[in-house]
């Protein structure tokens, strides 16, 4: 059976830069610096106290009134995902259960969902207030916990923290009854979710899929884990806006962020027949693994080169046809070097000539939310034929540097490639093609 062509028809963004696709593009294209001191909790004793934090965010305004009481069983990651999905669905002009009309654009069974998620951190105050009712002589008392302590937790406590709840809430809000998946592969999650969603649509398994990812590391557990890994930037707490420096010679660690990028991945012909706006066509995917990823203290790029090679080959193009590379750029020196070497290995000379961007300089590293935001950036860049700036990039590190610039550049972009990888060795890549009706 011939494969269906697949397009991005909706972009839902919740990011430290802005909410919504249009404002997100304005902020990214103008190099807005969004990293600041953490205000969500008192981070004074953390070695890294800065982040890409969302300004005043709640999912309440993004979920239907009838569903608002469910927001209280959503961890922040879930709230972000629910909001990003709603923005994506609206942006695509899709009618779903959420629009509460008489009809929906697609048969609910033909609307899928595939959301990348991270390890959701427990709210320490919530669990702590229960735990501290079961303490004897300064120590946790299992017997007391079983008898009474645990009853201080709300019955639905566990459901706040299951990673599949990002997708589950979205399927409920939008009445999406097609295949639903949750990918948990760190920073590769978003690209891999869109990979799978696109394959599903191409094979005729769904008409459209709500796909991407979301995560927040802005909590003590999320932050401390990155700190223990030694990945965080601790030298620029006093100049947060300049701290995240992907690929720059002075990169000095990751700055965490929070957000989500959720896209509508749709059958191109069906999108055309409903006269939807088409941001870009998805024409090539690749996924790969680096067996060295298990040792997370030795950075690799997760065999990103292999994933990119595959994506480019599937797109049926040569690397010099690319007009944009959207790189991950964690800002950890060794990871950036491994990543730029991977791009070089996959694309050869084109890795140094094709304009590239990493949005982490502006908003920080958003892990499971990163891939969706990178794909959103690529799709918007294709629409605007503009390469956004890489915030805080001044000088290259090493011989294999990408073609990055701290200023926005007008450029002909027929194709763009996006790559993402987790520190544990999984990677994914996607080639997008400019849509010309």
């Amino acid at each position: 059976m011939p494969k269906a062509r697949v397009a991005i028809t909706g972009i839902g963004v919740v990011s430290p830069a802005a909410l919504g696709a249009e404002d997100f593009w304005d902020a990214i294209a103008t190099g807005k610096k969004c990293v600041r001191r953490i205000t969500l909790f008192d981070a004074c004793n953390f070695p890294s106290r800065i982040a890409g934090e969302l300004p005043d965010f709640s999912a309440r305004q993004f979920v239907p009134k009838t569903y608002r009481k469910s927001v209280k069983v959503m961890a922040r990651d879930i709230e972000i995902a629910a909001a990003a999905a709603e923005l994506g669905v609206r942006d695509a002009g899709l009618l779903t259960r959420s629009s509460q009309g008489e009809t929906t654009t697609y048969d609910p069974k033909r609307l899928g969902c595939n959301i990348g998620a991270g390890l959701i951190s427990t709210d320490l105050d919530e669990l702590g207030s229960a735990v501290n009712t079961a303490v004897t002589d300064g120590k946790f008392d299992f017997k007391l916990w079983g008898e009474s302590g645990m009853n201080n937790l709300t019955p639905l406590w566990l459901l706040k923290y299951l990673p599949n709840m990002l997708a589950c809430h979205i399927t409920i809000i939008h009445g999406a009854q097609g295949p639903s998946n949750t990918i948990t592969c760190g920073s590769a999650s978003g690209v891999l979710s869109v990979f799978e969603a696109s394959r599903l649509v191409a094979d005729g398994g769904a008409d459209a899929v709500i796909a991407g990812g979301a995560e927040s590391k802005l909590n003590p557990m999320g932050l401390i884990r990155q700190q223990l890994l030694g990945r965080l930037c601790t030298s620029r707490n006093d100049s947060p806006a300049d701290a995240a420096r992907p690929f720059d010679a002075e990169h000095d660690g990751t700055v965490v962020g929070e957000g989500g990028g959720i896209l509508i991945i749709e059958d191109l012909e069906k999108a055309q027949s409903r006269e939807a706006r088409i941001y870009a066509e998805l024409v090539g995917f690749g996924a790969a693994c680096d067996p060295g990823g298990m040792d997370v203290t030795h950075p690799t790029a997760g065999s990103l080169d292999l994933a990119v090679e595959r994506a480019v080959a599937e797109a049926g193009i040569t690397p010099d046809q690319l007009g944009l590379i959207v790189a991950q750029g964690s800002g950890v020196a060794a990871e950036d070097l491994a990543e730029q070497a991977a791009w070089k290995s996959a694309l050869g000379e084109a890795a140094a000539t094709v304009p590239a961007v990493a949005i982490t300089g502006a908003i920080g590293s958003i892990f499971a939310g990163a891939g969706g935001l990178a794909l959103a950036t690529a799709a918007l860049a294709l629409q605007n034929q503009t390469v956004p700036p890489t915030v805080n990039y001044a000088r290259p590190d090493g011989e294999e540097s990408l073609n990055l610039n701290a200023e926005a550049r007008k450029h002909q972009i027929p194709y763009a490639v996006v790559g993402g990888f987790s520190i544990a060795g999984q990677s994914g890549a996607c080639v997008l093609k400019r849509y010309e009706p």
Binding site: V73, S129, V131, N181, C185, L192, P220, L229, P291, M294
Partner: protein, 429 residues
């Protein structure tokens, strides 16, 4: 071009009934119970004092390089053991031309076990005026927390450990759709091979939620059995007296391979995967769709993908958790899909013996389906004594039964409404 066929060439498992496939199958056919009083922590005052635990597992008994994986979490150790059995059985360890870039991995693995003592003592020691003082907490956490214990909680770490062990360079995914995860992983692996993204996939799942907050979470949801006075028989799928599932742990790994690839290296072939279906209830996070529409859609999807008719299914390995709701909804969904024929299909839940391995459940249950096909025998639903009028199908009560089996289905439904079904058949001739 005809579509690429996907076969199973290796399987391995570590679960409450055994540390390999043979002992697990002997346990199932002997109607044994893997359930006992919780020995992993003091749960004596918890609403549920028992679980289906993996006992006496030593990684060194399973792999030659346990020290390389010394940081692996509990469930990851189980997965390394299961993977070794599967890999050796498949003969891939002796295949010198395997292209590692065409070898992928797609697991449904849960999060690693929490560093409970450190995590909990920090919340106590940094507690001030009704909340955690995060300044104090950070100061203590930086001293006490262990990098590896924290990192190994990421659910993609089992993928990373197995990828290291077998040199995987192809597509690598982890799905965590709660109780459906490893079924979804195997279904998606099948599609990866069919689409040509890989030739061989290491698939399956691993999970252990038998830790204090895992049991707490399920107890607060009132999802697990509290039959503390009859722990061995507490898991009672489809029985009138069922009162929830029994939390289990373990790992199962299967080698999925493109048929021609398997043939060309003379691999053992245990079954062929014919079809996979996935759906979402899109109903409520706390409840299944009471009509079973989502579950039915997954089964119908698998039938359509397999290109087989409903009446060709000879056995269904049920999700069959033993909760009031699941078993009734699943029964309803089977009737919706199979009509009158539903009453003629044997359906059983090996969770009655294994407990509920959560993310690892589906892969473990698929292994029992493969063995059922091989031996032409149906695994039983044990502890089935009192029929429930709302669950009125043939659940293969208490004893295994001889049967003539060609095509079988395995169901998994995740908390939150993600549903998956797989259909397999005997090896191609």
């Amino acid at each position: 071009m005809s579509r690429r066929r996907v076969v199973i060439t290796g399987m391995g498992t570590v679960n409450p009934l055994g540390h390999d496939v043979a002992s697990t199958w002997a346990g199932v056919l002997g109607s044994k119970s893997g359930i006992s009083v919780n020995e992993l922590f003091d749960a004596s005052t918890f609403p549920s004092t028992f679980a289906a635990q993996v006992k006496d597992f030593e990684l060194a008994d399973h792999i030659d390089n346990p020290s390389e994986h010394r940081h692996a979490g509990r469930h990851c150790g189980f997965a390394l053991g299961a993977a070794r059995e599967a890999w050796e059985q498949s003969g891939l360890d002796r295949c010198d031309w395997l292209d590692r870039r065409r070898l992928g991995i797609y697991l449904g693995s849960g999060e690693g076990s929490l560093d409970f003592d450190n995590f909990t003592s920090l919340m106590i020691d940094a507690w001030e005026n009704g909340r955690v003082n995060t300044g104090r907490w950070a100061e203590l956490a930086l001293k006490r927390m262990d990098l590896h214990r924290e990192v190994e909680q990421e659910s993609n770490m089992v993928v990373a450990h197995l990828a290291r062990q077998y040199g995987v360079r192809g597509p690598a995914f982890n799905v965590l759709t709660a109780c459906a995860a490893s079924t979804q992983a195997m279904g998606e692996s099948t599609w990866q091979i069919r689409r040509g993204d890989a030739d061989v996939m290491i698939s399956g799942g691993a999970h252990s939620m038998i830790h204090p907050y895992g049991v707490t979470g399920f107890n607060r949801l009132t999802a697990i059995s509290v039959r503390n006075d009859q722990v061995e028989t507490a898991s009672r799928p489809f029985d009138m007296t069922r009162d929830g599932f029994v939390l289990g742990e373990g790992a199962s790994v299967l080698i999925l391979e493109e048929f021609e690839h398997a043939k060309s290296r003379g691999a053992p072939i245990f079954a062929e995967i014919l079809g996979y279906g996935a759906s979402a209830d899109a109903f409520r996070i706390t409840d299944q769709d009471p009509q079973g529409d989502g579950a039915a859609a997954a089964m119908r999807g698998a039938l359509a993908d397999a290109g087989v008719a409903a009446h060709q299914i000879h056995y269904i390995s049920a999700h069959g958790t033993g909760t009031r709701q699941n078993d009734e909804v699943e029964t309803k969904a089977v009737k919706a899909v199979f009509g009158e024929y539903a009453y003629k299909i044997p359906i059983s839940s090996t969770k009655s013996m294994l407990g509920h391995l959560i993310a690892a459940a589906g892969a473990t249950e698929l292994i029992t389906c493969i063995l059922a096909l091989r031996d032409q025998i149906l695994p039983p639903t044990t502890n089935y004594n009192t029929p429930d009028p709302n669950c009125d199908l043939d659940y293969v009560p208490n004893e295994p039964r001889k049967a003539s089996l060609e095509v079988v289905m395995s169901n998994s439904f995740g908390f939150g409404g993600q549903n998956n079904s797989l259909i397999i058949t005997k090896p191609p001739q």
